[in-house]
Symmetry: C2
Subunit: 256 residues, 2 copies
């Protein structure tokens, strides 16, 4: 199964390297910029191009891993071929391929990726969708080579998985960023937060997040909450503090 | 150094057990309820009481680990003695002891605690404050027995450390709870989120949270953001989504 990657960003980088490691052959990388295409192709030791016209037509699998905002534009510029085209986007329906490629699907790994940081792929859930049973089996086989947690899911449900991922990943990370800023403003390195961050994350492997909750909001400690809100100079952060505290207390008393 | 714990909640439980493990002697536990006092005293194999009048007067160190809202009330009901009195609250100034105990201080571990879950205490930052240099040395010695990361910090600055802890711990955990609810509503177990949660948390040991950020908000992917907002039926969650997305983009473009 020869593979072409359309895109050379964070996800394309980690996924292509993992596929190669698992014995799959990445044949070519396309990226809008030479820097991107060449950079990833060198890591994979394969061909690269910055022109969609020059994408090889004989590969078995084309993995589109570009920004959501440009995905349909890129698909529409690709010359039709007989391969299986899949994208990696949580919020875009599989139907985006209709009219462009008869064989199509989705390969969505629920994880955060950075170019330079390897990820233990074996446990990463991969959510698949395919336009035919046969192509579904191909995707299952490819996904199974990199992950032990593979399941099929409709475009409709995948949107909620993506949204959940944004909360659990991007939004929790923003909480770390705010916390880091608060500490650094007091001359304390944000490394002091790492044990708390790691413990909080690790805890939900043993109990549900709702059961694991601690702190002033779950105790409804009005004094502390009022004092903390006042420490925040930024109006958006104060509003955020209020909203999340209210949400935590609601979860405790009546459920989310 | 004999120690008395005033309180038998999450923090008191984990801290007293860790102190005992480190060779310090916990002499007695006080809690408002018999269940609390007896439960912890049995784990520690020590005395217990539900009456502040019966708290021993000959201990070297009294550690107050009760809810912030009742701390001053509890302190005011304790019979004066010659021991060193400390509390464990992030947002309450050391001066809460003035008029009640000549020798006083603060022992604040930056971590989330649950009764039943042990914590690797050695890396937990402990922030100390003391009313005299001599008592500061005593606290440094006690804290050093359980943690390798001990520093002195004023009441003023400690408030910000506590606030940072609320963001990095309680608030990130709330993001997990919302994500879990979104998945479970689709019939998917929240365990699917664990690799993402662990990766996001572990990443900030290698790069700053701002540098580690990924997802639709940092790319300012308006399409995805509008779609995701619409998936949230609860008005507070929609507002939360908007506020955090705006914050992530602000951090990316102009800093927090």
């Amino acid at each position: 199964m020869d593979i072409v990657f359309i895109g050379a960003g964070n996800l394309a980088t980690r996924l292509s390297l993992e596929m190669q490691r698992a014995g799959l052959k990445v044949q070519q990388v396309y990226s809008r910029t030479e820097e991107g295409a060449k950079g990833l192709a060198e890591k994979l030791d394969c061909d690269w191009t910055c022109s969609l016209d020059d994408v090889r037509e004989d590969a078995g699998l084309y993995i589109f891993a570009v920004k959501d905002a440009v995905l349909e534009g890129v698909i529409s510029q690709m010359k039709p071929n007989g391969g299986l085209w899949v994208h990696t986007a949580g919020s875009i329906p599989m139907s985006v391929f209709e009219g462009y490629a008869a064989r199509h699907g989705v390969f969505y790994p629920l994880q955060t990726f950075s170019k330079e940081k390897a990820v233990a792929f074996c446990g990463v859930p991969v959510f698949l969708e395919a336009s035919s049973e046969e192509d579904g089996r191909i995707l299952e086989c490819v996904a199974g080579a990199v992950s032990g947690t593979v399941r099929f899911l409709s475009s409709e449900k995948r949107r909620f998985v993506h949204l959940a991922g944004v909360f659990a990943g991007n939004f929790s990370n923003y909480m770390y960023a705010v916390a880091a800023k608060l500490l650094e403003d007091q001359g304390i390195g944000y490394e002091a937060l790492l044990p708390l961050i790691i413990e909080t994350a690790g805890k939900v492997a043993e109990m549900s997040p709702s059961a694991a909750q601690t702190g002033p909001a779950v105790r409804f400690d009005e004094n502390v909450m009022a004092l903390q809100e006042n420490l925040l100079e930024d109006g958006d952060l104060r509003e955020l503090y209020r909203l999340i505290s209210r949400g935590i207390y609601k979860d405790k008393t009546e459920g989310l």
